[in-house]
Structure formats: structure tokens, C-alpha cells
Symmetry: C2
Subunit: 136 residues, 2 copies
DNA sequence: GATGATATATAGCCTATGCTATATTTAAAT
DNA sequence: ATTTAAATATAGCATAGGCTATATATCATC
């Protein structure tokens, strides 16, 4: 059977959390490139609300995991994989906000909560959300 | 105005995350006490899917923050504050699962996703969920 | 009441994310 | 071309959560 105990559920949530920061940074870098042509570490730090060395460290992780590229003292760019991830994250974010609004959550609150919720929404839930939104 | 920029949103999500583990442990300890009369560290560790020293460390944090009490080599208990938190968390969990199911997410998936989602659902969203569920 | 099994605690390590302070590089301005 | 300002990198520290290995305490049993 589909034996999924509580320990597995928590393990899943922990895993989702470890991916969450990557997703946030990748999406944000995508935004900055779209808006400004490039993503500077200083801008990333400001938008993420962290100190600049924290952003630098995050970028190092993104590079290590193949989502971004950069050269010292230069802007940050997304790999193909990074860009694809950014697009997926962006779409999921929109869907989550739309669903929250659809069930009566005020727009502003929906944006706030979605930032945390989205990372825990599985593909299956996302599909359900989309169908629900269509059938309205 | 209600000036809430993206950095604030991420800060909020980070804060929610730091509270999440506390909530999970407190809820689980509440469950164990309800089921078995007391919460042993070994049982907590098993259900959380972590090693026993990890659970011990978590309990130390709960004690430090006033949610639990325990004496060496004895079971763990909740303070009044801890019990109240456990009840709130449990209720929120039920509501989140119910909402997911209501918008078409399969029961099993809803349980899985709720474990991560619930910690990011604000009071306002929760209220909206409840109203939505009633109005069905 | 001594002994062996079980449960809990402690020590020590790792990784991730945050920070401040400071060095280094790039870019701008005189 | 120097000098200065701004951006980025690096060093070093803290906390949180995870782990394994091991010490210590409790409990059950003989």
C-alpha cells in the first residue's frame, strides 16, 4: 500500500524547506534580469531582505547546484535550468495566490501567505488548484 | 499605507519557518500525551522521523521557550501555553486539509501538503478558509 | 539487590543560513 | 592617472537542526 507515516510527512516538509530558498533566489534573480538586464548581488540582497554577504553565499550555492553562473565582481545570471525553475516557481506562485483569492483571502494577505505556502504545494495539489480555478 | 515589500514577505516566511518546528513538536507531544498518557523522547523521535538526540535537543528548545517541561530521564509534558499552541495547531491543520480537499486535492495528498503549508497560513487566511468551507 | 536491556543525555561533528567587520576590486570623478 | 566611492568577496562568528558514538540513568527480571 501507499504507506506514508507521519515521519515521512515531516521529512518531506523538511526537504521542501531546503529547496525553498533556492526557489526564492532563482525567481528573484529572474525578476531582476527581466527588469534591469542583470542581477547584481546588492539588488538580490536588498530584495531578499538579507545582508550582502548572505546573498553572496546564496549565489555560491546556486552556482554549486547548477542554477546560476557569475564571475567575481560581476552580475549573476541563470543557467537554462535556473531559468526553467524560475518560470515554474513564478507560475506556481501565481496559481497559489489566485487560489487563495478565490476562496476569499484578501489579495494582500494572499501575496504574503503565498510566499511561504507555495514551496509546499505538490504538483498534484497544483493541478487541483488549476482545475478548481477553471471550473469557477 | 500598508507598505509591505518583498523583503518583508521573505522575512515573514523565514519567521514562520522558525516557528514551524516548534509547532510540529508541540502538536506531536500533545498527541502522544492524549494517546499514551505521556510523551517519551523515544516516541517523539520516532514519529518526527529524527534521531533520538535530535528530539532531545528539540525538547530542550521547547522548555527554553516555555512550551514544555520535563525532568531528566522522564517524559515530556506541555505547559499551559504549550497545550494551547498544540490545540491551535491541530485545528489549523484540520482546516487546511479540509480546504485542500474542498478544492479537489485528494485526501492523501492533502495530508502530505498540509504538513508544510499549515505553518504559513495566517489568521486571516484561516478565517477565510473557514468561511469558505461553511458556505459550501 | 545485582544484572542486563532500554531509554535518555551528552559530546562532538557537519551543513545551512544568518550576521558584522574588513579586504579587495571595479567604476567614477577630479 | 590618482583618488575616492561603491560593489563584491572573504573571514570569522552565532544559531538551528541534523547526525553518530558513547556515557549515564532507569526499569525489569532473576
Amino acid at each position: 500500500m501507499t504507506e506514508v507515516d507521519q515521519a515521512d510527512r515531516f521529512a518531506r516538509a523538511r526537504e521542501a524547506q531546503s529547496v525553498a530558498l533556492i526557489e526564492d533566489y532563482v525567481e528573484m534573480i529572474g525578476d531582476l534580469i527581466a527588469e534591469l538586464g542583470e542581477a547584481r548581488v546588492a539588488d538580490i540582497a536588498e530584495r531578499m531582505g538579507v545582508a550582502q554577504p548572505t546573498a553572496t553565499k546564496a549565489v555560491a550555492r546556486l552556482k554549486r547546484e547548477g542554477f546560476a553562473t557569475s564571475r567575481p565582481y560581476r552580475g549573476v545570471f541563470l543557467t537554462e535550468e535556473g531559468a526553467a525553475l524560475a518560470e515554474r516557481v513564478r507560475a506556481r506562485h501565481r496559481t497559489v495566490v489566485a487560489l487563495l483569492v478565490a476562496v476569499g483571502v484578501p489579495e494582500e494577505v494572499a501575496e504574503l501567505d503565498a510566499e511561504g505556502i507555495e514551496h509546499h504545494v505538490s504538483e498534484q495539489s497544483l493541478k487541483a488548484f488549476e482545475q478548481f480555478l477553471q471550473g469557477k
